[in-house]
Symmetry: C2
């Protein structure tokens, strides 16, 4: 039995907030996601259910990517139903990459819960990711153009993650190559989400391209904002310890900018990052201060702002319908943390 949900706007003037949009997308996508996950082999049920928080009240992510897919479809004059497989497939790919990345990064917590590898071991986590990726491809089997776009984004994700891992082992990383890494790791799938929605909604090639670029730039703006939160975010909000990225000596965007700044603060930060021991609370606070004084914080804030502006320009260039236009802009602002 299929319950009909209100999928299309009742009046074009009622623009919803970003939070409302995410709730709407999640409500639409969640049952389809669960239906797709039912096609997983039995042994993958426990790790995947755990990952999505279906085994307790955890709750699965924010559905940003599905929301982008659905709104992009509406933006080009399409409806939501035909875009649902793409919305689910993008979410599957996103979660495939989270599960595998957590193995590679040895991250123990995600969404305030232990990661799949932490609970089930890394072998099961590798297999669970593989299964999610295969499932995403299966889901778009009937849509060759969409499948090509999605799998091409997977290859970008791989390239971005590979660069990220390589950077962690390197002493010097340039700000530009770090930015490019983030474009692969975060921008590609958000751009893909928008392009897929535009494809499913019957957009013109130019609309598909512009909406894809909108998603990429918004995704990169998000990464800059997220990397700021990785240092200065509230633990209660991020679910990570204070100064989390500094604790892990992550070469995040503000850190890389500081390290490459050629300032005394940048050199002092490099010194701290080289230290073989864990950093004390005082040293962590000092490191955060060094990133700020070396200009890493201001640069990241400015980049996020500029990228948001560029994203919105691409969105306008796609000549979207009014309401999805306003709602995609609201989502982009949420991603760039300009909503509060």
């Amino acid at each position: 039995m299929k319950i009909e949900l209100p999928t299309e706007p009742t009046a074009l003037t009622e623009t919803r907030t970003a939070r409302e949009i995410l709730g709407w997308a999640r409500e639409l996508v969640e049952p389809e996601l669960r239906a797709a996950a039912a096609g997983l082999p039995p042994s993958m049920r426990a790790p995947v259910w755990h990952h999505f928080g279906w085994d307790d009240d955890g709750g699965s992510g924010k559905a940003v990517r599905p929301a982008l897919v659905l709104l992009a479809a509406q933006a080009v004059g399409g409806t939501v139903r035909p875009a649902l497989p793409a919305a689910v497939a993008v979410e599957l790919v996103h979660n495939f990459s989270l599960v595998h990345d957590d193995v590679m990064d040895s991250d123990e917590t995600r969404r305030h819960r232990p990661t799949v590898w932490k609970v089930f071991g890394s072998d099961q986590a590798i297999l669970a990711g593989d299964a999610l990726l295969a499932l995403s491809a299966q889901l778009l089997a009937g849509h060759p153009d969409q499948l090509r776009v999605l799998m091409s984004a997977v290859l970008d994700l791989v390239e971005g993650q590979s660069a990220d891992l390589e950077f962690e082992r390197r002493e010097f990383v340039g700000a530009e190559e770090c930015r490019q890494m983030a474009a692969g790791k975060t921008g590609a799938l958000l751009g893909c989400a928008c392009a897929l929605g535009a494809l499913a909604g019957g957009g013109t090639p130019d609309q598909i391209r512009q909406l894809g670029r909108f998603g990429e730039e918004a995704g990169l703006a998000f990464q800059f904002a997220d990397d700021l939160l990785g240092i200065w975010g509230e633990p209660a909000v991020t679910g990570k310890p204070v100064f989390s990225d500094l604790r892990n000596r992550k070469k995040s965007l503000p850190v890389v900018a500081a390290l490459a700044s050629g300032t005394p603060e940048g050199r002092a930060l490099a010194e701290l990052y080289r230290s073989p021991d864990g950093l004390s609370p005082d040293e962590l606070a000092h490191a955060a201060d060094l990133v700020e004084r070396a200009g890493g914080r201001a640069w990241s804030e400015a980049q996020s702002e500029i990228l948001l502006g560029r994203a919105l320009a691409h969105l306008r260039a796609a000549t979207p319908r009014d309401r999805p236009h306003a709602e995609l802009a609201a989502l982009a602002q949420l991603l760039a943390r300009r909503d509060s």
Copy 2:
């Protein structure tokens, strides 16, 4: 520039040997495989080239699966060209699973060379596998039916590998569940190869089904034969140390049969498998002897024989053309090690 290779048999009477067929398939598939691999992200070039042996004289596998795809297409009256994407995609999936399995199994050698994770680290190996899987899906984007069959085989592979890993941690494994694990881990992709060839060649639903079953049974026959080699195979042939599977306390099919035999030899073997220390050369030879005396060797040989017979019955039921019929039978015999 495309060089035209002789793809179709010149006369239906000239049946080739299994070795000749594999050489033919490899010659046809290798350039397409390299063309597909050119679509990989730059960071994946080194690990994937290493895996395929393209960075030296290593040489990439035996092309059993591509050969099955191409012959199955001919078996139902199709030609080879339209089946090439499927042949390449199956080979990509096979290698995706090898690269990931080697990480999970900590296997250090494959095809007489160090494995990808051993050379590049497990993170790069996970990413390389992910990229190969994405590439395989991309390659079949234009063929929805084939893509569904291939991704469904990926899910079977995942289930098989998961069971295999779980068995290694368990004290008691039943012969039937071990057989089922092998059906997922080996039978599924060989069955998929034949089904894909039949699909690409325009076979009837019954031909597709029968050829799929042929591949599954032949694949399982291969696994029984391969597990025998894992104990009694010549190191020069297998590229593995003598008594390799016993050394690693693998719960392979003959071992599981011996352990489950209820015989004194089975119990003595269980005792050896529980020992916390590495087994000495004498103990290894003794363990092999115990597997044999507990009936594990005879059972595996009989199973391989029975499965080969069943495979050939399904092949006949597909009413294949004469020459591909003979050649698929020759391949099945090679897989079940009945060629020498």
